[in-house]
């Protein structure tokens, strides 16, 4: 059968895995009702955070993994989304869910505009420019002139929404479902994008910009739009973070956040959709364990100070890049490929004669 052209995702039957995964996620909160436990709400919160980070990493992946533009400053778009949602809720009394479309538009616009100067920059300079963005945004958020809106250094405290329609679930179970719904919509849309004309154009630009241009792709337009879409995804993740944490503060959006997205991207797998989910989960787990890891390290090496989480990220990142250079998703795929005997197929095709059509062609 002529399979669809989405080799990187569907061809190896990942469709079923994806379905199983999302169903599992749908059932997961029900566990809490079946086996009530003290810490269940906390697990639900971790689950929310994993999805939030997964969406943010997906945003970065669309830009870097699928379009070949680098960003060290996606924390800025995350912050923009978080603050837009928070301000709409506090100052304008909007319900949490209604902020999402506005965040989408605002962040798309911001990303699109940032994409224009980005066009002129070679990759190193783009890295530098986005790096500057990551550093500047927390400072801007603290600035006096907008402190009335942003709450300055102390940030903004929100209210956690209650489950609607009197649903018999806890707020955290409900927010889990809300994040899950958003994640499903956003991953579905990204999947569609990538297997369609626009996604192929994005990847063509990544692989060979000049050839993409001669194929009729308006490379500048596609790159700026991709920047916008990427910012939209990461911005929505920011809004979800504001809603689920019920708090925004400038320092949580500083450089380490942008670096965390990159780590999630590389760990999960650059240019892999399931990899984004893996990356998101990884970030939350490391955050969770970094305190105890830091304690262990302090103990064993009798250090005088805490080991910061970014240092742990760094070490883990190096380790993983060494063991699995294509990320966890890539590593799993290769493993599966090896088991399924794809390597054998390589051999058969390689050994085929290259002049395939000489007979058929004569007439």
């Amino acid at each position: 059968m002529a399979a669809s052209a989405t080799s990187w995702a569907t061809r190896r039957g990942i469709g079923w895995w994806a379905l199983a995964f999302w169903i599992f996620m749908l059932v997961l909160p029900l566990m809490g009702s079946a086996f009530p436990s003290e810490s269940f709400d906390y697990y639900m919160f971790m689950g929310q955070s994993m999805m939030v980070y997964a969406i943010a990493v997906l945003g970065l992946n669309l830009l870097t993994g699928f379009n070949g533009q680098i960003s060290l400053g996606h924390g800025a778009f995350f912050a923009l989304g978080a603050y837009t949602a928070a301000i709409l809720m506090i100052d304008f009394g909007w319900p949490y869910w209604a902020t999402i479309p506005v965040v989408a538009i605002v962040c798309f616009g911001a990303g699109f505009l940032f994409g224009f100067p980005a066009l002129k920059l070679e990759s190193h300079y783009l890295a530098l420019a986005t790096f500057t963005l990551a550093i500047a945004v927390p400072q801007l958020l603290k600035h006096k002139s907008i402190a009335g809106w942003t709450g300055g250094v102390s940030g903004l405290v929100l209210e956690k929404p209650d489950p609607p329609f009197g649903l018999p679930i806890s707020p955290d179970q409900f927010l889990f479902y809300f994040c899950l719904l958003m994640a499903m919509i956003l991953f579905w849309a990204a999947f569609n994008l990538l297997r369609g004309r626009s996604g192929r154009a994005m990847m063509a630009i990544r692989d060979h910009g000049m050839a993409a241009g001669t194929m009729g792709i308006d490379t500048s337009l596609y790159k700026t739009i991709t920047f916008g879409i990427s910012a939209l995804y990461t911005g929505i993740a920011g809004a979800l973070s504001a809603i689920t944490v019920a708090y925004v503060a400038p320092d949580s959006f500083a450089l380490p956040l942008s670096i965390a997205f990159l780590v999630g991207l590389v760990v999960g797998g650059i240019g892999s959709l399931p990899g984004c989910l893996i990356g998101g989960a990884f970030l939350v787990l490391v955050q969770n364990w970094s305190q105890s890891l830091s304690d262990v390290l302090k103990e064993t090496f009798s250090l005088q100070y805490d080991v910061p989480s970014w240092a742990i990220y760094g070490v883990l990142l190096l380790l993983l890049m060494y063991v699995m250079p294509t990320g966890i998703a890539g590593g799993v795929l290769r493993l599966r490929g090896a088991i399924a005997g794809r390597l054998r197929r390589v051999e058969t095709v390689r050994s085929k004669p290259l002049v395939l059509q000489s007979e058929g062609e004569k007439h």
């Binding site: 994008l193 369609g196 004309r197 060979h208 792709i217 095709v349 002049v355 000489s358 062609e361």
Partner: protein
Amino acid sequence: MLSVRGVTVRFGGVVALDAVSFDVFPGQIAGLIGPNGAGKTTLFNCLSRLYQPSAGEILFQGQSVLATPRHRIASIGIGRTFQNVALFDRLTVLENVMVGRHCQTHSSFAANALRLAGVVAEQAGAQARAMELIEFMGLEDFTHWPSGGLPFPIRKRVELARALAAKPKLLLLDEPAAGLNHDEVHVLEAQIRRVRDTQDVTVLLVEHHMSLVMSVSDKVITVNFGRKIADGTPEEVRRDPEVIRAYLGTAA
């Protein structure tokens, strides 16, 4: 169909093209030959708007090519391959050829993300056409292979299939025979003829492989050091003393 008029390109002190003029007529296969560094690829790059000539005009079906932005060149009907093969390495052969359909399809980002009904139909059409071309070029066995890892002669065919997917009226081939063995060149020759006859395209062919150019071309344009030195049927060009001195003399 194609009319190149006094095109001049300079790179610093180097004059890569010096007031080159020639015409290509519909349905022709025109050969463009000349020694290394003569300016052949530079001319192609002007035609696909990668370089901006400092003087001259290029008309394609009466329309100014130089007034057309790069990304519109494919949709006005000029397609090309590259001398050193420019594929999208991480995409499969099928995906590469489908990218070739870009200028023939129109769905937007939003329509793609929501996978509207029109997108599904358009995608199916693009894929069907791509599969036809993959068969046409004898690439069925490689359909789902990432193009990056394929052997060079296969990559060249993928590139040709991708160029054809855009439904060009004029196809620019930059040294399609380079790196092919004797048998493969024969296949290529047949393929070029077949492309012209069945896909309804005019071909401008840059090639160092003399017997290929001479047998397949209706006319041959010769350039040397950026200047056109001959323009005529293969027979005329083969006998032209200046061509013999500049090119065939050194090759023979």
